[in-house]
Symmetry: C2
Subunit: 355 residues, 2 copies
């Protein structure tokens, strides 16, 4: 914590200069630079504790001799129903995946619904059924819940919070702080599918595509990976909001390492690439909901890749880059034509309410 | 599950007749009859599992030899700031109390924020500080979180989900199914304070009062109670949405017992009673955020009451009724003048967005 920030906290004044950002902008929720500012300047200093400072997708806590992973995620995706899924299945997969990215076996989920007055009961029913189907497919139970209703015009149909707990098996330690120069970077399949599938059905944007969200539970694949590669798996993270570029930036910063990607190695489907060109989007910044990034010791990288590819959700997994000792905190992309450019955090909001 | 409901579930059709309630009403979030219908007909059948069927304030799960309580609550209170608290402190106390009502010692909380574009950053900062102060006072850490932003007009300033986990000490078993005829019903202090304090600052309703919310963390008092009365404590529940009458109805239904209250024994402050008369509210149905109901074996009731009264939050605790073997599932009130009336669940929405 900088001295200036410490002074402001002590004085009880808001540590984000009011003159710069007097109110919350959409970009504060985008996963990019403004989200990071909120986390760094507001949440971490206020909720000062070691588990939170890890800044992982979830916290890992010691409970009576076991290590419990605990994670939360709220979903505000628009529209509620989209090709290949809905807010219900997405919210279950999202939290299951956050737990899996801690190396945990997901056990139980809670569901908090904030419903806008006027939502058709039948829509709620379809979403609830979809949550249950997703939970079953992920091998977890929904064990507790809460429902609130807000007046018409004070919500947007339905927001869902799913929190979850899981058990981290003995010996498994997954943390961005374990990233080491030489580690290989794997991705479990073609990127940017979820974001493009959602945009294809947004009002005013509808375009012809057969794309469906990639939303899926990754815990089975991660369990197989950890069983095979064990301690050689250093970091796991699912590149949701902000995509692969944002997620790798977070890992680089938290692990104090550099990361270099090979553009030609990164799997992107032609249909996704075409849609991104039309929409002016870089696939590296578009959200995924059924992919994970793996940082793995180089000696085990080929074996880890083979395990991913042997799983139905990882058939098109690829090795896309490596961790470097130089440029700590930065991510670079070696382009198709041989040049190298830095992949920075986005400052604005690219795709609002994508999850 | 009734056969008819089973058939509907098998057919995948919504088990709530569309013709009766085609859309979500404010009352579906009020804690009364329509909330119960959602839970009974939609959530429990869909998310069918033993932990959820307990229908407690949280679920209790076996994890590696320990019993973990896991609870979730979303807060949509309006306005965000109110006498004696704000949505931040309320949300921390709410989930801490849900865990305490499972007999657990709260350990860690998650925070999921859904912020409306345009919220002043300084308001967010005040609320975050208030959450941290409440967490500290409750002896818990906020270990993980998530922030989403929705467009202006699609939210209402700020909604907060707080989920939490806690450890249930060996030997402690708190469940509405443990309610037994003869058990005494205790309340930890004067009722209906929170609801009236919030209404006093609602637009269009402002009235002169010195009332502040009773929002407070109850885990310390519950811990003292369990240390002293142990296994004699059968049921704990905090009477939030829907108040004492609704909460006791839930216990009566889940425990398959009757409950009889003595109106003259129920502590209600004069200022609260006066405000309720003006507003046409029954204090028994008004929300509390710093009170608990205790069902305790008659042999330990006096001792339990003494422990509550010895705690700063329970100074005005009282014995207000008892569990009966007749009229299972029903709550009766013996009135000041000697008559007896049934306290039913509310059908409509009395106080929207009170938590």
């Amino acid at each position: 914590m900088s001295d200036d920030l410490g002074d402001k906290l002590a004085a009880g004044t808001c540590p984000i200069p009011i003159s710069d950002y007097p109110t919350i902008l959409m970009a504060h929720g985008g996963g990019g630079r403004l989200t990071q500012m909120l986390v760094d300047k507001l949440f971490v200093p206020a909720f000062d504790n070691p588990a939170l400072k890890e800044l992982h997708d979830g916290a890992v806590l010691e409970v009576g001799g076991s290590r419990i992973a605990f994670s939360t995620d709220s979903f505000v995706i628009h529209p509620l129903f989209f090709p290949g899924g809905d807010i219900g299945s997405l919210s279950v997969h999202g939290t299951v995946n956050d737990l899996a990215m801690c190396g945990a076996r997901p056990m139980a989920l809670s569901v908090g619904l904030i419903v806008e007055e006027g939502l058709p009961i039948d829509d709620l029913w379809r979403i609830v059924r979809s949550m249950e189907a997703a939970a079953k497919a992920s091998g977890v139970s929904i064990v507790t819940g809460d429902t609130k209703v807000v007046d018409r015009g004070k919500g947007d149909g339905l927001f869902i919070n799913v929190s979850g707990i899981g058990l981290v098996p003995p010996g498994v330690v997954i943390s961005p702080r374990r990233a080491r120069p030489g580690d290989r970077v794997l991705v479990s399949g073609p990127i940017a599918v979820h974001g493009v599938a959602i945009l294809s059905v947004r009002e005013g944007l509808r375009f012809e595509t057969t794309l469906k969200t990639d939303s899926a539970p990754l815990n089975g694949m991660v369990e197989a990976l950890l069983a095979a590669a064990g301690d050689a798996v250093h970091v796991l993270r699912d590149p949701t909001r902000g995509g692969v570029a944002t997620t790798l930036n977070e890992i680089a910063r938290q692990g104090n390492v550099g990361i270099r990607l090979e553009e030609t190695a990164i799997p992107v489907d032609e249909e996704v690439r075409g849609a991104c060109e039309i929409l002016g989007l870089d696939p590296l910044y578009v959200a995924n909901e059924g992919k994970c990034l793996v940082l793995v010791d180089p000696a085990s990288a080929d074996a880890a890749l083979a395990v991913l590819r042997a799983h139905p959700l990882g058939v098109r997994a690829a090795m896309i880059g490596e961790v470097t000792g130089d440029h700590p905190g930065k991510v670079f992309l070696k382009s198709r034509i041989g040049g190298q450019r830095m992949l920075d955090l986005l400052t604005g909001e690219q795709l609002p309410r994508i999850c």
